[in-house]
Symmetry: C2
Subunit: 375 residues, 2 copies
Amino acid sequence: MSGIGFSLLATDGAARRGRVATAHGTIETPAFMPVGTAATVKAMTPDAVAGTGAEIVLGNTYHLMQRPGAERIERLGGLHRFMNWPRPILTDSGGYQVMSLIQLRRLDENGVTFRSHIDGRSFALTPESSIAIQRRLGSDIAMAFDECTPYPAEEAEAARSMRLSMRWAERSRAAFEPRPGHGLFGIVQGSIYPDLRAESTQRLLALGFDGYAVGGLAVGEGQALMFATLGPSVQLLPADRPRYLMGVGKPDDIVGAVARGIDMFDCVLPTRSGRTGQAFTRRGPVNIRNARHLDDPRPLDADCACPACRAYSRAYLHHLWRAKEMLGQILLTWHNLHYYQELMAGLRDAIAAGRLATWMSAFAEAQAEGDIEPL
Amino acid sequence: MSGIGFSLLATDGAARRGRVATAHGTIETPAFMPVGTAATVKAMTPDAVAGTGAEIVLGNTYHLMQRPGAERIERLGGLHRFMNWPRPILTDSGGYQVMSLIQLRRLDENGVTFRSHIDGRSFALTPESSIAIQRRLGSDIAMAFDECTPYPAEEAEAARSMRLSMRWAERSRAAFEPRPGHGLFGIVQGSIYPDLRAESTQRLLALGFDGYAVGGLAVGEGQALMFATLGPSVQLLPADRPRYLMGVGKPDDIVGAVARGIDMFDCVLPTRSGRTGQAFTRRGPVNIRNARHLDDPRPLDADCACPACRAYSRAYLHHLWRAKEMLGQILLTWHNLHYYQELMAGLRDAIAAGRLATWMSAFAEAQAEGDIEPL
């Protein structure tokens, strides 16, 4: 099964520089995927998203199946056309959102039934229905349906949960209809337990997937434990398939995970932070709501080529914030997505040049420097 | 005094095709000015605003003097640089907003004192301070400070109010510092009373302004009375200076006013409606919130070349609305501003070709047709 292609172009230690090929184009890796939950990357036009350098976005099955509905999107020509994003799309399976957003749910061997947090309607998700929905959406990369094991979990509970996810992975695999340029990723679970992660990986490899995701991390365990779990787990994955760390993360989370061999990431952080006034910069986070920016004519990040940094002062961005103007959220989201894409481009270049360690030192140093002094 | 240039390129009946020249570029007239109240045209980037064809935007003195403050904007290089709009800017005098937004205000011969509706601070506006603020903002076209007479007003009250505005116009004129490419417009008042409008015009002409605005209309009197008042009033204005009808309006208001000799317009309608789900189209208004659009793959307006109509279905726009996604407001605002600019371009072409009457018939017919049938 090789519905999508993967070329490993270079390595530097465990880190990889690669290229994923899908029906809607290629993705240079390591890659960051902006999250387009409800068929839109919040506050951005698709042209603007592409302009930041993003080559793939993520859509949320949980949200789209409820509103506007997968059948409706299919009738309207699929998700790419619906949201005017002609490039690759990855869809998650819906499992994570059901677990994280819904209090009233019932989970059994077959799948999950739940009431929508949007309108209270009843829905069911099973491996088969999740794959069918993702097929209707037309995503290039679909994800196996799984239970994201909450943290913390006792080892017995983590094992039970992981094994359920593995049985669901087998059913997802069986339900997935192979097509050229479209692929299905399996998801490794097992919480923070190396033996469970290893068992999960073995079972997925036995089934064979187009790519492998690491799930169940960045759920509260902290960066040190995340990296400690991730490192050995990634080494068990085959070199010739892409690896995706789900829901990660902050810039330094991404850098550390790339160094450990991860190729793909998604996270709401750059978009959500953009809407709440936090910008990511080469010198760490900047809170544009802070009054120190009132009269500051300097850009957010002097080394950034994004529209927000090229043409606007901190004083203006701060003003937009105070005035509750939408353009403030637009420009900060734009900057953050641009920053994340430049981060990935920097990582790709460093790996290709075999100088990732040096690059990471410079990155950490700049981040630790903190924001420029107030005027 | 001719701080800004005006060329009359063609006429068709009372309608005029012209060109205004300012320090920041030229404006083809009849022109529509999007409103950028708080140093941003809401939901739009400046590039997007320019992309709709807009050549000038309006800034609100009342809002900007309070937040972020005119002195701050001046220190930051002026309003053009602050908001990244390198093209012409017209600022109003602040008088209208004080009257319409503020309950607690005190008006006397000198000016108005009021408490901010934003933060309760006390402010004063006089002809001199309004002109000084507009100078600090650096607008290309400043407006004389006036009292917008409420509607309805008895003739005696309208006369008192107009004469106060004329004394303020004289003080505004004296306070305005002539600079090449920058101009000051006087504002005709007098409610719906032809004799008062004539007296107001005479007094402004005696002072001499770079352009003349018609104020105190579109304040509740209805279209018929607005046109009845406007027609004779416009004829008293000199042919060699631009004419601006403040705060107007709906598409058919604009068309009728152009036919009566108006050159410039501003209105929050296209932007505000874009944020509340109403689109203006060649076939009249469309409410995107309506469930009839749920499965409609057609664009808002098949004859529109704006980004929202070129790349998105009504179903998608409706979905964005339901999901409360910012992109819905962005795309509808974009469409509306684009529609208004195409309306003005159509009017300009029709006047230049001497076929305005035919164009107006076709416009009215298409508007009356109403939206396309549901599928």
